[in-house]
Amino acid sequence: MVQRVFDNISSWWVSLSSGKRANYKGEALFSRLVYLWILINGLFLLPIMDSVIGVDGYTYRTPFSPTLRDNLVYMLNYSPERYVIIYWCMMAASFMALINVGGMLARLLSWVSLLIIASSTNLLFNAGIHVAFNWAFLLMFLFPMRETDWKVLLSRLAFLGLKVQFLIIYFFSGVFKLKAEDWWSGDAVRLLSFLPQYTPDWAASILQSMNWLAITVNYTIMFYLVVFPLLIWVKRIKTPLMIMGLGFHLYTALVMGLHDFGAIMLIGYVLFLSEEQTEWLLSKIAKLPIVKVLSFKIKT
């Protein structure tokens, strides 16, 4: 078995360094979905940008350390009047990245401006934006249109990095739950039902009246998060595991109201689709008008 694992890793590395493409349609689809997420969330932000982040906004600004990096990332704390430029830079760059125009420069601008907006206040954004800007950084090295071997190689490395980042989220989220007493005692999901901002009345009444359901969901979530990084690589278990995760994240997005976080975690599942599964997914959504924006042709 050890020999088999070693052979698999060795053949994977040979394939990686040979400049051969892997699931390039999956890579391109994931890339476009992330930029689409940034654009849609940017549009939700537009009506309240001025009142929350603007010069006369609700954000209480404090100075940060005088390093160049902090001055750039937290620039809206020092110069809030620049939020307009940064916001439209983010929207324009993300749109260009979505339609594959502007290359690495567009993706770099998208990442930097998203990071600056996300760092402008801790009152508006949840974990979804952290996922987004960490992925946006790695997406800079993903070349949807590739003519040279080294670009294919960088793209495959970036794609690997995106997967590892996704697995880190799941693993450490599971670890923190394993360390929390309310999760271990099976009480966490029941406590969640008392928070009206995350649980509508109908869900609260179900979870509070059916204690066995709350406990089952509690332990399922805990162990799912921890074992996902290992089991996702097992082909037989991968699809049912992803379907289960699909259910959790749809609940997060639609019932708990964390649309942005639920959506971006669902997008993350595209990272683990096989070539056949990606083709199937693309064929299902091919009729949607927005897919014309997502459609692509990779040069051979």
Binding site: S17, I168, S173, A188, L195, Q197, G257
Partner: protein, 192 residues
């Protein structure tokens, strides 16, 4: 000649792949150290990882762990023209902006202030000391600033004083109890 070039290209690609894998491994090793529960790594290593990760790769994955043990809401009153005005719900005010994102501002203010209150109550048994610690925290200034700005924008006043009222529904094992915490704030100078 062509064969030599192809061989050289292969070696270059292998070299880049090894370099790339090392860079990825290093990056995610530091991210893992920074994100892991405190105490999993040596403080020195954690400090280096934390400085590398923040702010451009900043992330935290304590998602509902631990689960909030209370539901909190923030209200405020402002003092203007010699009169204390009626209690205002910050949540309702932010909802009136018509955006769910704006409502998050109210939820976050209440949540962070409640966390600060809970933390200082555990550490300081003396209520006066606990109150002073909360009033010195960033969560307090952030919440007070939002309330003050809200009064300015929605009621066209320059409040002389603001009083924050934090309503906390605590969740013991059976049912819940409600606790009200009143945090006074005198003068808007500190938050301008």
């Amino acid at each position: 000649m062509i064969n030599t070039r192809l061989k050289l290209r292969k070696h270059i690609l292998k070299f880049i792949s090894i370099l790339g894998l090392i860079a990825l491994a290093g990056h995610f090793a530091l991210v893992s150290v920074a994100v892991a529960p405190y105490g999993w790594s040596q403080p020195d290593i954690y400090y280096v990882a934390d400085r590398y990760v923040k702010p451009q790769f900043g992330q935290y994955w304590q998602l509902f762990a631990p689960m909030p043990q209370e539901n909190s809401r923030l209200y405020y009153r402002y003092y203007s023209d010699g009169v204390w005005h009626d209690q205002i719900s910050l949540d309702k005010e932010m909802k009136s902006l018509g955006s769910r994102l704006a409502q998050r501002v109210a939820l976050r203010c209440a949540h962070y202030l409640a966390a600060e209150t809970r933390k200082s109550t555990v550490v300081n048994s003396d209520e006066t000391k606990s109150y002073r610690v909360v009033k010195a925290s960033r969560s307090y200034y952030s919440a007070a600033f939002v309330c003050w700005k809200n009064a300015q924008k929605n009621y066209s006043v320059q409040p002389d004083s603001i009083e924050l009222i934090l309503e906390r529904d605590l969740f013991p094992k059976a049912g819940y109890t409600q606790v009200k915490t009143i945090i006074d704030y005198y003068g808007p100078e500190s938050v301008r």
